[in-house]
Symmetry: C3
Subunit: 116 residues, 3 copies
Amino acid sequence: MEHHKLEGRAKMVLIHIDDNDMWEGEPLYEAIVKRLRMMDVAGATGYRGILGFGAKNRVHRSGLLGFSNLPIVISVIDSEEKIRSVLPTLKEMISEGLLAVVDVDVIKYTSGKPHQ
Amino acid sequence: MEHHKLEGRAKMVLIHIDDNDMWEGEPLYEAIVKRLRMMDVAGATGYRGILGFGAKNRVHRSGLLGFSNLPIVISVIDSEEKIRSVLPTLKEMISEGLLAVVDVDVIKYTSGKPHQ
Amino acid sequence: MEHHKLEGRAKMVLIHIDDNDMWEGEPLYEAIVKRLRMMDVAGATGYRGILGFGAKNRVHRSGLLGFSNLPIVISVIDSEEKIRSVLPTLKEMISEGLLAVVDVDVIKYTSGKPHQ
């Protein structure tokens, strides 16, 4: 791992998709997070929302059985250069959705040893 | 729908309220998301937090039965002009809470056909 | 309480940790939120993600029993001066994780009476 130093100006990407979007047989949000990790991005976190609407013009709602068709947001933080290098992949994987980038200042980033 | 082009500089509003705030007999967060959709905003996503405090000076905690009195955050993304046009409505609907605006760059926004 | 006026330029801190990180016998995310409230910060909200990776180089996943080892993000909003005053405490409490700061404009902040 090489991200021992990520302090200072950086970028956060916010990816808005649905939890039932698929990519090659698996949930798109899982495929995106795995891909970002393979590309050695400093960090990514996925959240499931409780309602929303967006690119597909729907109001998402949790159904009777819980988790069908809810919004997912994945936030990704790394240097501007690294973020620029992963955007083409993200654009390709996300056919419907919203991708936005925010300026951030990284104050602390500790890359510890992997836990098992 | 008209949001086929939302790329470039835009704004994200972050609305912080409680999940037990009400608006005309329904949860405020649902009322806000419905209103934003009626106003043809590009996208909005609501999340439920697990703890927090804020405008009401409380520490939220999930109770024994789960979801009572937890923080809700709604993120809303659209052009600066559109966001400016909805802020008065949001300010009116939110009597206690925190409304903050963040600069974002929209890299991709795909407005697909509505799903049924 | 003194936060009746927090409008205008402000800062949001995004704290990325794990839900099994501990601090003096309690979950770190609870300890951080309590500490921020003691320090009279305007607002903080904690979220639990559904997957992710970061400082510890792991892909988080919810296990069979639900909530083990998932990402937590805490967002904290206050004036630049106040945020600067709490960063040393946050850096001390967070041994592994990512701390990032974002510029925000606070449009409305209503500090109501505490509810019981």
